[in-house]
Subunit: 187 residues, 3 copies
């Protein structure tokens, strides 16, 4: 009977453990990404002269601005649409692995800050599907976090955080963003 | 004692099962929707002549475009705001069950592709509340998936995927989208 | 043996309980917020005369509108970018605790209705991080719900619902929104 009792005790503790695991699955979930990927994307804004190379264009502007030149006051009010190549390294001429598509709006007069809504769209042997992003981008900060608000295909139901870093900034025509995607919900 | 031991063994296996269930609730969750609904919505874009019937209007355009006619280069840069009727079948004249409200931006020069941010807004005896969507819409594909990023009312905290299909496309004035909403998180 | 059997029975029931808890963690989760916060934000739209005070500007408009005055037909088609101060009370002159940054689009001809995409951005000793919102805002309703679609920093991975209430509305230049944020997913 002693052996059986000891076994029962172990069993009981195991049961308790399983209950507490169930009840706290979410609350104490470790902040460790279930998936992590780094990409670069490259934005060449149309400036009246670069129609062939441009991947982005101003489509909204404040009353005091126009749609060819980014407006004063830190571009406040300029709405830009983009279809930018995504690469695995920081070379604009590397073979794109997907496209970053969506928009950003410069939304502050005093400093450069934007609001982003866009997707990473993949259609290669390595990745099929999309990752959707939204959030504020105070682009004078070295790094800033936006939200991964959903995903489809290989990234079905994804949620997480993406850390943006301006990797290059050339005049007002080209910039390159390093995007460190950390998914905390993977299905 | 034999019977008791066998019972203990069963119990132990059951406990193990419960632990693994708890720990993997999310990972292995079946990809079966907890709610599924199909709707159609109808977009009639303003073209200078149809002010009475139009449900959508161009409000942003690239430097080379205007806000009455969709621009060249696959409408790249056109931003359209809409308030479209939602119907249960594919008939524009069916009684609407809600409104699809939001915007789309054509974001690619080479082919038709858009980025969508919008809501389904319901206020009937059948549905009260809203479903919020965001994502890339490569509209030349027969079907394409966007994200359900949230919901309110009857669709409180909803998450999922919506599969879009262009059900009709007439010139550049009218299109109808079939929307197959699959929610994977229902509260 | 009787005592052991009774113990086994209890253990068995406990195991069953733990299984059912694991399987339904999500389904029956109480609809009680894990975090609740109330803020006000203040929108002063540029009207051609208030460049110094304005926190928002029209950057898109329909063909029949312009970017200095909100258009007719319930502002249908006007796209507004904002960088509004957030305060703890309803006083425009209180010290801001953060900025509300993003855009809204008036999207209906018959009544005032808008679609919102924006973030609350905090960078104080009390809060660091951002909360991202999206949803339809039928602003003639006393209260209306939009989605919290994500968060960063202190609001890492947040999801929930925000109830908006127009707290003041002065002509077509100033409005103040009370924002009652209820998070149902806190990490």
């Amino acid at each position: 009977m002693e052996a059986a009792k000891r076994f029962l005790l172990v069993l009981f503790l195991v049961s308790l453990l399983s209950i507490s695991t169930a009840a706290t699955t979410r609350k104490f979930r470790a902040r460790k990404p279930c998936k992590r990927m780094v990409f670069y994307f490259h934005d060449i804004i149309y400036n009246g002269k670069n129609a062939k190379n441009a991947t982005a264009a101003i489509v909204g502007a404040p009353a005091w601005g126009n749609r060819t030149i980014l407006s004063g006051q830190n571009h406040f009010g300029d709405l830009v649409v983009f279809d930018d190549p995504i690469t695995l390294d920081n070379n604009l001429h590397s073979t794109p692995v997907g496209r970053a598509q969506g928009f950003y709006i410069y939304d502050k007069k005093d400093i450069f800050t934007a609001w982003l809504g866009f997707s990473f769209v993949f259609n290669s042997t390595q990745h099929k599907g999309s990752i959707n992003f939204a959030g504020a981008d105070p682009l004078m900060n070295k790094t800033r976090d936006i939200s991964v608000i959903g995903g489809t295909g290989d990234f079905f139901m994804a949620r997480g955080v993406a850390t943006l870093m301006t990797d290059a900034f050339e005049g007002e025509v080209y910039f390159r963003l390093r995007t460190d995607i950390k998914l905390y919900e993977c299905w």
